[in-house]
Amino acid sequence: MTDMSRRLFLGTSGAAAAVAAGALAAPRLVGPTPTDPDQALGVVELPDVALPPIAGVADDVAVVLHIVDARAGEISAYVGDQHVTFTDRALVARVLQANA
């Protein structure tokens, strides 16, 4: 995955905390046409944030988030060879809002 994708993930995470504090506007999803990839790039406009260093993870490592249980805010993150599960209901809310 590209660096942009990673920044998006981390930016979203950072933004989620801000959302919890009510500091950010809702994200905007561009062209939500599910059957047409050219029109549904799924780019969410979020404020850029600085990337914190992650030990052992190169910039081009793919990151995939799986919302395991939306109601509970349970998320699995797959990064490189690793996997971590955490709870972030605010992040889940923002992701679902972006896809609404």
């Binding site: 990839p37 793919a62 996997h83």
Partner: protein, 479 residues
């Protein structure tokens, strides 16, 4: 089949689908053990232009437990890389491939082998060549020699090979999966009242894999590297002479196919992304366990499990479905098995053969139980020397060097397990039980008998590493 397409989900992922595992003391080098795992089953040899290969996105492993706890003490990891060496052609090759560095060979694969053990992780070999697939006499002349050139000696005196081979498993799939209508005995099948005169006479078995290839990863390893510390591997009755072997294939936990149209200027944007830890999707040790003993709804679940957790499946061995079916499929042929089924007595013979190994005292002068943990492992007592005159029925045939003491490429594992399930081996644990005569005769008929090491001439095994036969070429094997 042994484990070809044995579970619903893995059957759709042949690159990661384990087909067979073999483990035996090398007959031509008895200080070593040969371990073979096969993948990418049911290859029709003419299947071009994109011939078969290992998955670059799959981690293949052969595991060895040497202390009987169902956990790997040593494991060998294979990772593959593919590349197009010629480029700008649809062809696998644009001329004869007469060497492993032939400029005519486009689609190539190399691999690395690493070992995990208590001493840590060690790369034993890298950038090792797989041979091409056997395409035909113009593309791959002298294939046997070409493929033999891909046998390499890597670190610590280990031989390795990874590439296409003739599938060594033999079975009459057409009859087995047609409601177990075994051709040599089909006149005895109940046929459900159907009037099918063609099935009223005995017929020889048909090896459905006679012209089928597979991909094999094979290792030949000094015994001392596989045994627990301090074990000599010379005393048959010593549990430390026993190793348990299995294979697994794993894929990354998360895969994303980017939701964008392909961009010719930037094709990497559309490439599949895989990330996260590797997740086991296939495993195999004893043949036919997942295939025959595990119900369909649990087969992919079984594939995801570790052997040390196999106790959860013990009821499937203690009361096997096929044993319940045989008396009905062949009325009057298995009366003693029928009584055994109705008695409700657990099939502890099958549990011993497949989950714990045969403990000392069951078969005089033999054991292959390295510990008490219930686990589906292909257990090999390395102190048993190779047989001078092999019997393809292995331990059941009085040849302790064969299945279920490990498994040689020519062992008739289908017949062995059919007979065991039919009750032949129950007498080992209950002396009052008399097996039906049919339990000692049942077979799919693909073997010419216990001394037949060629499956009626349909298999041409090699006398030395990697033992599985030269793969069938697409030109000659075409129907």
């Amino acid at each position: 089949m042994s484990s070809h397409r044995e579970a619903p989900e893995i059957s759709k992922d042949p690159v990661a689908d384990s087909a067979d595992v073999y483990a035996f003391v090398s007959p031509d080098n008895p200080d070593t053990v040969t371990l073979i795992a096969t993948y990418v089953p049911l290859q029709e040899p003419a299947g071009g232009p994109n011939f078969y290969e290992f998955g670059d996105d799959v981690v293949y492993e052969i595991h060895v437990d040497n202390d009987g706890d169902g956990r790997a003490d040593v494991r060998y990891e294979f990772r593959f890389k593919s590349r197009n060496a010629v480029g700008n052609t649809f062809l696998y090759n644009n001329g004869p491939i007469q060497s492993l560095d032939s400029p005519n060979w486009n689609r190539r694969q190399t691999y690395s082998v690493a070992r995990w053990s208590k001493n840590g992780y060690q790369v034993l070999g890298d950038n090792l060549p797989c041979p091409p697939c056997n395409i035909g006499p113009l593309s791959t002349p002298n294939y046997a020699g070409l493929a033999q050139g891909a046998v390499r000696t890597i670190g610590d005196g280990i031989k390795v090979y990874a590439g296409q081979r003739a599938d060594g498993f033999y079975v009459d799939l057409g009859s087995v999966f047609d409601l177990a209508d075994l051709r040599p005995f089909q006149q005895l099948h109940n046929k459900y009242g159907l009037n099918l005169p063609g099935l009223n006479q005995p017929a020889p078995g048909v090896n459905a894999l006679a012209n089928i290839n597979v991909h094999a990863i094979a290792l030949q390893i000094p015994k001392s590297q596989l045994l627990r510390r301090g074990a000599k591997g010379t005393d048959v009755m010593d549990p430390s002479s026993v190793i348990g072997v299995w294979t697994t294939a794993s894929r990354r936990a998360a895969t994303i196919r980017p939701f964008v149209f392909p961009d010719f200027q930037n094709p990497s944007n559309t490439m599949t992304v895989s990330t996260g830890p590797n997740v086991q999707v296939s495993r195999l040790a004893n043949p036919l366990v997942n295939e025959v003993l595990i119900p369909i709804e649990l087969k992919d679940y079984w594939n995801r499990q570790m052997p040390y957790r196999d106790k959860q499946f013990r009821d499937r061995l203690l009361k096997p479905e096929l044993a319940q079916l045989l008396p009905g499929l062949y009325p009057g042929v298995f009366p003693n098995l029928d009584q055994l089924n109705k008695s409700g007595k657990p099939r502890t013979d099958l549990l011993a053969i497949l989950h714990t190994g045969l403990p000392a005292g069951v078969v005089e002068g033999f054991q292959n139980s390295g510990g008490k943990t219930e686990a589906d492992l292909l257990r090999l007592n390395v102190a048993v020397p190779p047989a001078a005159t092999p019997n393809n029925l292995g331990v059941v045939g009085g040849d302790f060097a064969g299945f279920p003491n490990g498994r040689r490429v020519y062992d008739d594992v289908l017949t062995i397990e059919l007979r065991a399930i039919a009750g032949l081996t129950y007498a080992l644990v209950d002396k009052s039980f008399t097996p039906d005569g049919a339990a000692g005769a049942i077979t799919d008929g693909t073997s010419g008998g216990p001394g037949d090491l060629t499956a009626r001439g349909t298999e041409q095994y090699l006398p030395n590493f990697p033992y599985l036969g030269v793969p069938h070429d697409g030109y000659s094997a075409a129907a």
